[in-house]
Symmetry: C2
């Protein structure tokens, strides 16, 4: 399966090293996010929710699409965040079916603190990289994400 005798010029084999590197790196970053969020009694999903609401006030359905979740899952997610005073539901004025979600001041305060912690931990993760490697990492990661169908 790894060896293709005749293949298009645009195709190439993917090395096991690349797969392992990216997968392990993603688990390392996720571990940082999990630990930092837990410090504020949040799950990574709650962190992502607050991240989405940082500069938006989207309908429930838009949140579901962003997170790749079913709408019913987002109902519970927002329920729990709202119960803790981190977000608030508001009715849309133009369409009575739509519920908009926004962060509360408490939610924004938590995100600000969390951002500081996460930045520090990511910095520690990369502490042995040269400045040149850091720049390249940002460029390459950005290049990957730009062409990734989210």
């Amino acid at each position: 399966m790894a060896t293709t005798t005749s293949r298009a010029t645009t195709s190439r084999t993917t090395s096991p090293e690349l797969v392992d590197s990216l997968v392990e790196l993603s688990f390392a970053v996720q571990a940082i996010l999990t630990r930092a969020s837990a410090h504020f009694d949040l799950s990574v999903t709650q962190l992502r929710l607050l991240g989405i609401l940082r500069d938006r006030t989207p309908p429930m359905t838009a949140i579901a699409e962003h997170l790749g979740l079913d709408r019913s899952s987002v109902t519970g997610l927002v329920d729990r965040a709202e119960r803790r005073g981190l977000v608030a539901r508001t009715a849309a004025t133009d369409d009575a079916r739509v519920t908009l979600v926004r962060t509360t001041p408490a939610g924004r305060a938590v995100m600000k603190k969390l951002g500081t912690v996460i930045t520090s931990e990511i910095g520690a993760l990369c502490r042995h990289l040269t400045d040149a490697d850091l720049d390249l990492l940002v460029r390459v990661a950005g290049s990957v994400l730009d062409t990734f169908p989210t």
Copy 2:
């Protein structure tokens, strides 16, 4: 925040771009793992369990340490995997308290297929990178992981 007038020579500020790049990249990889695992009715946690057992037959406690979970969580994890015929518990001969976990042929077959899918998807994620950038990514990711206290 970006300008620090007095700081140690070993310290440096971490750019928001670096944090965003690594976090988003990790979510992209996790999304691939989630989708690929779901294709075989597995969670990412079950995938990690099978990954650990690829070349080991560890005690329950070792699995818990590897995954950063409580031992009781691993009990349920292995229960569900065993119920599906993917792993099997065996008694250790030297210490009657210890339970060893191994993959079954069915578990190894699933992992083989999953590996193919994941490799393909990671390859697609990186399809726009040059060969030089791929090498860089592997080298930098490896460098980060080598110095990361897992």
